[in-house]
Amino acid sequence: MAGPRGRRRRLHDVTTVATVDTGWVIAAERNVLAARRLIAAFAQLGRMLVVPPVVVVEARQRSASLGAVDDILAQLEGEPHTPADGRRASDLLREAGRQATGQGIQASARIHTIGTADALVAAMAERLGGIVYTADPRHMEWLRDAGARITVQPVPDFTAHSAPRKANLPRP
């Protein structure tokens, strides 16, 4: 269905979804009860967690147990990447590199540290409303500082924390 500017309307236009990164999936695999409670809370509110294909690849590569990580991935809604996501991810990485240079850090080192996958996650999160759940807020915060229109939500209560951490307010 074409919107006012010919854009096809998607589900995230009518409900709230949040995108997860690879660290979130790995953390969820390590504390299944906390992950289940978070997903149950999402269900109670009529919201959904969305997983990008690049996170599926990374999580399955990094996990010690394919069965366990597949169990977590099966609980999330899949969303495909678009060519526009790729262009946006590239732009964000370039800008993050440029900003790092201004701080005396090699652009290529910063870009390598962030990684293509997290840039794609940020691009998709931006397209799906802006909320991204992550186990490593640092990468997403660099991408946000590079212009990604995202709200970075650290993984709640999955590892050492006894209570969920509150969302970071975007920097002024």
């Binding site: 074409a2 009518v14 509110l45 939500q153």
Partner: protein, 96 residues
């Protein structure tokens, strides 16, 4: 929210008041609107069934006390996101 290439033709009846309440861009391609709406319902149903299976496995439903911190977290993230979106849309943000 992925899209399927396989489609099935079905005849459905829609309440007139619902149809008239839809925004014009949603009625331009009603099949797409119906499909997107059902996709959302299906995803939420899948999520709900999953939670019910966990509750059956543990022998009791998740309690309000168990879920409250997570519900608060989700809602706070949404509030922060709304604040960010509002600030991004503000004229001063565009000028800056």
């Amino acid at each position: 929210m992925t899209e399927s290439a396989h489609a099935v033709k079905k005849s459905v009846t829609i309440d007139a008041d619902v149809l008239s309440s839809l925004a014009p861009e949603r009625t331009e391609n009603l099949s797409a609107t119906v499909n997107e709406s059902l996709r959302l319902v299906a995803a939420l149903d899948k999520e709900r069934r999953l939670v019910e299976s966990w509750e059956a496995e543990q022998g009791h439903p998740f309690t309000e006390e168990e879920l409250r911190p997570y519900v608060e977290l989700i809602l706070m993230a949404e509030v922060h996101n709304a604040v960010r979106v509002g600030r991004d849309a503000a004229p001063s943000a565009k000028a800056g």
